[in-house]
C-alpha cells in the first residue's frame, strides 16, 4: 500500500455555540484507502467529513491535501466529491443529467461526457435508467445515482456520509459489497462515515473510532477488534465483557474477586484498570473445572452460536459458544491469559472528587448544591474536598434531582452500568462524576442525579 499521505487533518478544533464539536482531531489518510469514521451520533464524525469536503471550516488546525494547506479552499475547488446522507439529488434533472452535472461544469467534450456517464451508470447497475425521473426511483436506486454522480468526476477522494442509512438490511449488505468492489476497481480513496460497527468492520482498511469530538483509536479492523484501546471502543465494537479491575503488577490483574494471570504490562502497580474479555474467548467447562464457577441465567440462540449469560462472582459473564446450556445449570468458565485485555480506564479513579466550600454553620456547597453535615465545626469559607462513591449517586427524574448532568458514556460492567457524567461547576468548568447504576439511560442526553449526602466524605483542603 502507498505510504504517501493523501489527506491530513492536523489538530482540528471546532466549536459551535460554545460546545466543542471537534477537539484536537488529527489523522491522515493514504491514497486508495477505505477509511471509516465510526462513532455514536454526535461524536463529530459527520463534522469531520464536512471539514474535509469544505462545507464546514475549523476554528483551529489545518487540512492538508497532498501536503498543501487547503483550509480556505471552497468546496467547489476541492478534488473531492461527496455522497450525501439523504443523497441530495437534483429533483429537476433526470438520472443522466444528475450524473452529468459535474462533467458539464468542467466543460468537457460532449462525447466524453456521454461516454463517462454511461459507463458509470453501468458500474452502478443503472443502465437503462438514463431518462428516469429521480422521484420515480427507489431508495437503493437513488443511492446508486448519488454514488455515480460523485464518482463520475474521478475525485481523488470520495466522501460518504452514512450512505446506506436509509436502506433496509438486505439491500444494505448488498450495497456494502458493491461499494467495496467499486472502490477497489476504481482505486479511489473512500472516507466513509457510519455509526454501524459491523459495516465499518466489513468494509474498511482503516477505522477511526470517535467519541465526543475526539478520536479514540485509529487502526485496522483487526486491531480495533482485538486490541481495543479503552472500554468505550471495546463496548462499541462487537460484544464485550467489561469489568472493573486492579492491575496488581505486570502480568497480574485482580477482578471479580480473584487474581488472574494476563499478558499486559506497563500499567503500574495497584492501578485501577478496565478488564475486557470477548465473549467468544470464554469457554464453558464442567462446574469446578474452570477458573470461576457460576449459574446460567440466560440462553439466547443467535443462529450460529448461543449467547449464554453466567452469573459468577457477582458479575454477569457473556459467553458465545456453539454448545447449548440450560438456565439454572451450574457451570465453570475458563480463559487463557491472552484472552484478558487490560485497558486504561476512561475515568481513572474508582471514585469522584469535587471541590466545595463551607457556606454556613454545618453547611457545605458544591456545584450549586448545598447540604447539611452535623458537627462539621469548620469556619465559613473553608475550601473542602468531597469524595463521592459511585454507588452514592442515584439517577432520578430531572424534576426531583439535586443536579442535572450530561451523560457522557455508559458501559455495562457485569453488575452495573458505569456512567460518566459531566456537570458545570460554579466557575463554568466541566467536572466529571462516576456513577454505578442499574438504570439504562440514553447517552448524550441530560439526566438528573441525587446524592446520598450522608455518605460523602469531607476533607479540609491543605492551604496551598
Amino acid at each position: 500500500m502507498n505510504t504517501e499521505k493523501l489527506l491530513e487533518l492536523k489538530n482540528i478544533t471546532l466549536s459551535y455555540d460554545g460546545d466543542k464539536i471537534l477537539d484536537n482531531v488529527s489523522l491522515y489518510i493514504r491514497d486508495k484507502e477505505f477509511v471509516t469514521l465510526l462513532g455514536p451520533s454526535g461524536c463529530g464524525k459527520t463534522t469531520t467529513l464536512r471539514i474535509i469536503g469544505g462545507f464546514s471550516f475549523a476554528d483551529e488546525g489545518d487540512v492538508l491535501f497532498e501536503g498543501k494547506r487547503i483550509n480556505d479552499l471552497p468546496a467547489y475547488q476541492r478534488p473531492i466529491n461527496t455522497v450525501f446522507q439523504r443523497y441530495a439529488l437534483f429533483p429537476h434533472l433526470n438520472v443522466y443529467d444528475n450524473v452529468a452535472f459535474g462533467l458539464k461544469l468542467k466543460k468537457l467534450d460532449k462525447k466524453e461526457i456521454d461516454q463517462r456517464v454511461r459507463k458509470m451508470l453501468e458500474i452502478v447497475n443503472l443502465k437503462g435508467f438514463e431518462r428516469r425521473r429521480i422521484t420515480k426511483l427507489s431508495g437503493g436506486q437513488q443511492q446508486r445515482v448519488a454514488i455515480a454522480r460523485a464518482l463520475v468526476n474521478h475525485p481523488k477522494i470520495l466522501l460518504l456520509d452514512e450512505p446506506l442509512g436509509a436502506l433496509d438490511l438486505k439491500l444494505r449488505k448488498e450495497m456494502q459489497i458493491e461499494l467495496k468492489n467499486i472502490q477497489r476497481e476504481l482505486g479511489i480513496t473512500f472516507i466513509y462515515v457510519t455509526h454501524d460497527q459491523e459495516e465499518a468492520l466489513t468494509m474498511s482498511d482503516i477505522i477511526v473510532v470517535m467519541k465526543d469530538g475526539e478520536i479514540q483509536q485509529i487502526g485496522t479492523p483487526q486491531d480495533i477488534y482485538n486490541e481495543p484501546k479503552n472500554a468505550f471502543v471495546a463496548d462499541f465494537i462487537g460484544e464485550s465483557n467489561i469489568f472493573d479491575g486492579t492491575m496488581i503488577h505486570d502480568r497480574l490483574v485482580s477482578f471479580a474477586g480473584q487474581e488472574f494471570d494476563c499478558v499486559d504490562e506497563g500499567f503500574g502497580e495497584n492501578q485501577p484498570v478496565d478488564v475486557v474479555i470477548r465473549p467468544e474467548d470464554l469457554v464453558l467447562t464442567a462446574p469446578g473445572q474452570g477458573l470461576v464457577s457460576g449459574e446460567v441465567t440466560s440462553v439466547i440462540f443467535k443462529g450460529v452460536h448461543y449467547e449464554i449469560i453466567v452469573r459468577a462472582n457477582g458479575l454477569d459473564w457473556m459467553i458465545q459458544t456453539t454448545r447449548s446450556a440450560n438456565v439454572g445449570d451450574r457451570v465453570g468458565i475458563t480463559l487463557t491469559p491472552d484472552d484478558i485485555h487490560i485497558m486504561n480506564r476512561i475515568f481513572k479513579p474508582f471514585e469522584s472528587t469535587l471541590q466545595g466550600k463551607v457556606v454556613g454553620e454545618n453547611r457545605i456547597s458544591f456545584m450549586g448544591v448545598e447540604f447539611e453535615r452535623e458537627d462539621l465545626n469548620l469556619p465559613e469559607g473553608t475550601p473542602v474536598t468531597l469524595t463521592i462513591g459511585p454507588d452514592d449517586i442515584s439517577i432520578v427524574s430531572i424534576d426531583h434531582s439535586d443536579l442535572t448532568v450530561y451523560l457522557e458514556s455508559m458501559v455495562y460492567k457485569g453488575a452495573y452500568n458505569e456512567m460518566i457524567v459531566w456537570a458545570k461547576d460554579e466557575d463554568g468548568v466541566y467536572q466529571s462524576l462516576l456513577i454505578h447504576s442499574m438504570n439504562d439511560e440514553q447517552i448524550a442526553t441530560d439526566i438528573g442525579i441525587k446524592f446520598d449526602f450522608d455518605r460523602i466524605r469531607i476533607a479540609v483542603q491543605e492551604e496551598g
Binding site: P74, A75, Y76, Q85, L89, P91
Partner: protein
Amino acid sequence: MLKKLASTPYVLWMAIFVVVPLGMMIYFAFTTADGSFTLDNMLQIGKYTSIFLKSINLAVIATLICFLLAFPAGYLLSRMKTRRQNMMLLLIMLPMWMNFLLRTYAWMTLLENEGLINHFLELLGIGPLSMINTQGAVVLGMVYNFLPFMILPLYSVMAKIDPSLFEAAADLGCNPMLSIWKVLIPLSRPGIISGITMVFVPSVSTFIISRMLGGGQNMLIGDLIEKQFIGSSYNPYTGSAMSLVLMVLMILVMAAIGSFEDDEMEGIVV
C-alpha cells in the same frame, strides 16, 4: 352523493358570480345599445392601442423590478432561522394590512412637488424634482403595492429546497453564482411563475395607482375601462369589449409563461 350535495353551494356561487357576469360581459361586448349584434365595440379598441401598450409596458417593468427585488429577498428569508423568518414575514405583510388607498395617498404626499422628498432634497441643495404624475411614479406605486405578492410565493418555494442541494452543487464544482443559476432558479420556477402572475395581473389592470400617482397623462387600461362605466362617457358596451380583450391578453401572457414550466418539474412539491 354527499360529496355532490356538499359541493352544491360552491357550484351555485361560481355560476352566479363568475359564469353569469362573464357571459354578460361577452354579451355586452358584441351588442349595441338596442341589443343587436355588432363588432363595432371591438373595432373601436384599435383607437386605444397606445394605452394598451403603455399599460403592458409599465406592468412588465414593475413585474421585472419586483422580481429583481424579491428574488434575493425571498432567498435570504428562506435561509434565516425560523424566528427571524417569522419576524421578517410579518414586516413584509404589515403594510398589506393598511388600506391600499391610504398607502398610495402617502406616496402622493411624498412625491409631490412640494412634498416631503423634495423638501429634503432642497436641504441638500438638489432639485426640486418633478416626480409625481410621471410613469416612474406609477411604476413605483405598482412595485410598492405588489412586491409582497412576489416575495411570498418565491419565499415559500425556496424554503422547501433542501439546503444540501446547494452543498451538492458546490461539491460538483458550482461556484455560488452557478449554484443560483443551475439549482436555485430551476427549483424556484413554480414560485417565479406564480409571483409574476400575482404582480403582472393586478399591475396591468390597475386604475387607482395610475390615477393617483400618474395624473391625467398616464391613463392606463384600468382607467379607460373605469371611464366607460362611471362618469359622463358612459358606455358599457365598449367597456365590456375592452375588458374582454384585456382578459384574453392576460390569458395569452400567462399561457406563454406557463409553457416554460415543462414536465421536468413534475414531482416537485409546490
